[in-house]
Symmetry: D3
């Protein structure tokens, strides 16, 4: 509800602190300016509304007119938005707006490459919890803008039983059974498996989603056959742009990719003053 | 003062929210566990103390013993720290600790490559304000761990007069003069220049630091000669691992590199339970 | 993660504000006291650990020894916990601790009556979002202590497609299909239905959970037959202690009860000083 | 000053968290809707302005037109307010607005029954500190809407010397004397008494208000005579709708009733979409 | 409850922000130091515990041993407290601790001079709401340490009907009557008067406290006679160290002095390192 | 960025808390009023915009028209601003607005006296960190309004190497060298010196600013000669309105004065209702 505003205020506080001292002494408060946000390379846009809110937070008197929507393919040289307002306010919002939008667009762009790589298969690309601390809501939004889907947001809204949970609960069957009895009926139960024996136990216990953790392509193919649509199948581990198409070809339903959010290169965007 | 704790609490809140539901139903509160943080590739370590504070924030009863210091070169396979405590607490802190440390170590490692590339010159590598919103203090710390230095933290603690400030103030001389008269005497005055005419105006006005913005190598060399140690010289724009050595060879004092913090690939670190 | 501490600090701030002026002028800071928390009627206990944290937040030097666990049946006259510490701290924590524990135990007790009423059927009793604003995490915890289960925590962690969502999406099939395509694969999709036609559409669209909203017992029985275990069936509306057993007898899987949290009478608990 | 907004934001954050996922995927942001808040039973209205602020906080673009004022008697079927705005915003504010207004109206309604029961006597009905943690300001406001008055808000704005304070201070006289000497002259001094001896000591020490704690009707009558308007007399303990009229008939000035806020059944209010 | 900690954290955040950069580069974290807080002039001590909490907040490992209590007369040269701990922590807490304690002791000292000036009369010296924003709780505490008493803390815990309230309510009688009927019975009702006519109206309406606003000594004497102990009498306006004794001699009960908190000269205290 | 709003909200919360009870019961919400802020003595104005924001924060519907700018000389009797709006809102903002503006104008006025005293010399008057905790940004702003300049804001944005830092670093040369190597190149390095030997070491190590701590006039003169414009010279200690002109006459560049912010008498300003 208030998360994006919290992110913006934290970022502005961090960058501006007690004041933009350079601007305070060189730019008169009444000086007005126009500027535009311009793409310096091709990418999938994400964060244009967030950028607008950054400037509105600095000063509600700034006009921000977006020309493109999040999710669009943007070409180098395209103008993303026009701005008009007090020059001081534009200068104070610039860096935070760009820092956010450049990261968000980079995530959307990288996601779209994974999505393109699995086109024609049943596999959907999903993110992980390997996001930058404090920005998860924006990271996950950007994955959607790039055509991906989200895995659970955090530990509170999804069940993923891993090796250590199984060990503590005393086996796959026991772990799934406890989750089924105690957690809201609105949640599917996902379990991580490392071999066919575990897959079979998971099936027997009625898991809704079976994660194949770091399996080879051959193992994944066989697991998909074994599961035979009795549960959703998620591939995880060792996924990159070279391997993702082959993984998708094994017939898995979901491929989760940590790199979507932990290893990205900022999209190149500039703010140009008239 | 309280910034790192704020980052950690925000990150835990974001990941755990109202509770780690999987762990709550599968792991008894009294179950104890041991684990270790292990490097899965070579890198420069940054964030080991932050990781420790993550676990202590989850539960003060967790023991966290670091084996290496921030700033160390770490080899693939090395153990970074040992942990012991309630299994539930280790599981709940794991992702946040790794997300932070993997980003921080990646920044330190990338910085160290730039620093190595300019070894033997007078140039120091510094960061920019192109950090991930909310994590600037950790991003900048990690640059130091990689052997770099910091530029100003934000708009509040350093003066950098850019093109738009100059235009609004009515010229380079006027802008520098106003900054000199109105701002604390404890701050140096830095100004961005795009050509020799601007460099000369900046010198005449007594700038303490002159930034050469997107100049060619030849221009930078000539600017360094022109300035002749009457001001510090900072190169900015178009800096990457291919170009940085040549830029340093022009004799500039400082090279600022946005990529140190906006385009990094997470260092590979795992948490392994015994 | 930090929610219960937030509740406690808000409550103490609200009650104590700038200081307990009566105690400040009548009780010397070094005066020590002993006290006990005592049940004044029979109930199911919930909130004993929360009460302990209240006193620890007022003053970490207070000793709080609980004698019973949340979820226990308590008899009138039983001592729930012993306290020892500065008299001023005991007096300052008393009201907040009791206010919380009395509400929580009341919820647990009421829930246990509903649970008892459906014993022997397949139905589980679940809560709703009709909780007291700001205390949802404690309200839902107390439902579990009384033997009930939780529905989704809020709008963020579960999908419940209601009449207005269906209208906006253009039909039951379209609404379910969009949810299936866009939301995390970890969530089941629940839909509210008001008649058999809607139940059939929901089944056809593959709903995971079908809520029967304000149906008669006869309608519920027929809907259960119709659904035939192809989806979970949730009864909602018109549930009270008189009707719940008959509703359970229709064969529904889940019965959601708003009254568990919106209409409760505080359990009677006192704090007695030695 | 900011307390009601804090309550509303906490409640919305708790319910919506990172987003209303059902609405996000089924309702287009531009879809507009109309709705009305309707009474499903008779009650005294409290919380209509708070409900309006909930929707305005979700989205300032929502129009909220209240048709009735807090404090009114509402009949089953009456419309309390009209709403118009983005359908998504109406859906997101609905539950929080209802949860607050249903509790508040229930408190006002219950209070009005106590007030009616003592009509014709000098007694006024007042609340206690037995409110729901975090909502005290709304609970106490609702008591006023029901025709009651407020006791002190918390420990910081009123003096109430209880048994333990007396013991620690070394007697009733000493306790009252210290309070008189050290606390702001703007506060009356109230003391709890359990028998006539204590009443007499309190009178002798110049107490402004004497609370009769859990006395019988006969004892209260005699205490009222004894005090003879030299102090205000407050009855406390064992007050319910059966006993309150008799208590009032003893001649006490004030009757404090914990049940007004700790044991209430939500008023039945619905939000109906056109 | 949490107010003093909030003040300390705000002050440290304000002074240290993202770090004490001088200390970070010159003082090794393991360097230990001893220091003492020393009076450089005579004053009444206030704030010694606050100073201790400042250092504990910087670093719980600092030992702080106070040698004197708040409220003591301190002589030039006396040591107030000993400190031992990491040198960096002592340096980081120094300024905030001194800033707080120097202001607090100055308030206590000034108050004690007013108190001394009215010795032998019935008048007590009280503060006003003219405190430094954000520090009211410490300002008012320091007045008590200097032998003064507190007026109401703020607008929420005391009733003071001023000229504009009277005008809006339609007269003194109406204003007092409304306050009596609607506000908690635990509060006395104070009213500001400017002449005898108003004093008489206030008496007739049953005011508990009558403030004489900017009256001459002769007027005050006559007002005191007129009131004849039927209400407390408070003098306000034009009070300073030259006039206060004469004002007290008029027989008023209370003298409120804005200067106690709005016009003070910091007490001279130093922190000396061994 | 958000600091001034934080100060205002903290101050209003502190003063109004859960409500202005006097106004609530005597002034109808729809009553409108006009008022003006009037100078009751001569001073330099500071805080007029802050005062406006206080009223806007209480109620955005208040009109606040300022007639004078911060930094103006104000004569006794001059009107500073006109206000119009709900009477209740004017009454609720009055005290906080005055408390802030009276302190701020007092600081500006005192500063202007120091500035006048050094007119004709090269010396500029600067503040210190001896500000009121929580209000530093306003204190430092007011120094500028009085014609002074600011020293560093806090420990995070300026380097000032004191005696204890030197001792810990192992000498003046070592301390300056470490600061030069590790801190941002944008900061000047200032060092405190107590004798000529230290001044010479500081010069040799390349200090940018040399503070002369508590030196006599003769020593200052000689130090200025010695330094000979190779560094900025700051005088500190023993500065008051009697001594400041002589100190300025020694030729120092900067004179820092703690009294500007730690020992001030509130400017006399009233709010008068029509």
């Amino acid at each position: 509800m208030f998360e994006i505003q919290r992110i913006i205020e934290t970022a502005l506080q961090e960058d501006i602190g007690l004041g933009d001292i350079t601007t305070e002494v060189t730019v008169a408060p009444e000086t007005m300016a126009r500027a535009e946000l311009v793409a310096k390379e091709d990418f999938i846009l994400s964060g244009i509304d967030v950028a607008g809110r950054v400037f509105k937070t600095v000063n509600p008197a700034v006009d921000f007119e977006k020309l493109l929507q999040d999710g669009c393919k943007v070409r180098r040289g395209e103008v993303l938005a026009w701005l008009r307002g007090p020059a001081a306010s534009l200068l104070q919002g610039e860096r935070v707006a760009l820092n956010l939008m450049q990261r968000m667009s980079a995530i959307a762009s990288l996601t779209s490459r994974y999505v393109a790589a699995v086109a024609g298969t049943r596999a959907v690309i999903v993110d992980t919890r390997k996001t930058v601390p404090g920005l998860r809501v924006l990271d996950k939004y950007s994955v959607r803008m790039g055509g991906g889907r989200n895995h659970r947001i955090g530990l509170f809204d999804g069940v993923l039983i891993k090796e250590n949970h199984v060990a503590a609960a005393g086996g796959i069957g026991a772990a799934i059974s406890r989750a089924r009895q105690k957690l809201p009926h609105t949640l599917k139960i996902e379990i991580e498996t490392r071999n066919f024996d575990e897959v079979e136990q998971a099936l027997a216990a009625g898991a809704d989603i079976i994660m194949l953790d770091n399996m080879s392509l051959a193992e994944m193919r066989r697991a998909v056959e074994l599961i035979a649509e009795r549960a959703l199948v998620e591939a995880s581990g060792g996924v990159n742009l070279e391997t993702v198409a082959d993984i998708a070809a094994t017939g898995v339903d979901i491929i989760s990719v940590g790199a979507l959010t932990h290893s990205i290169n900022a999209a190149d965007i500039s703010m140009l003053f008239d």
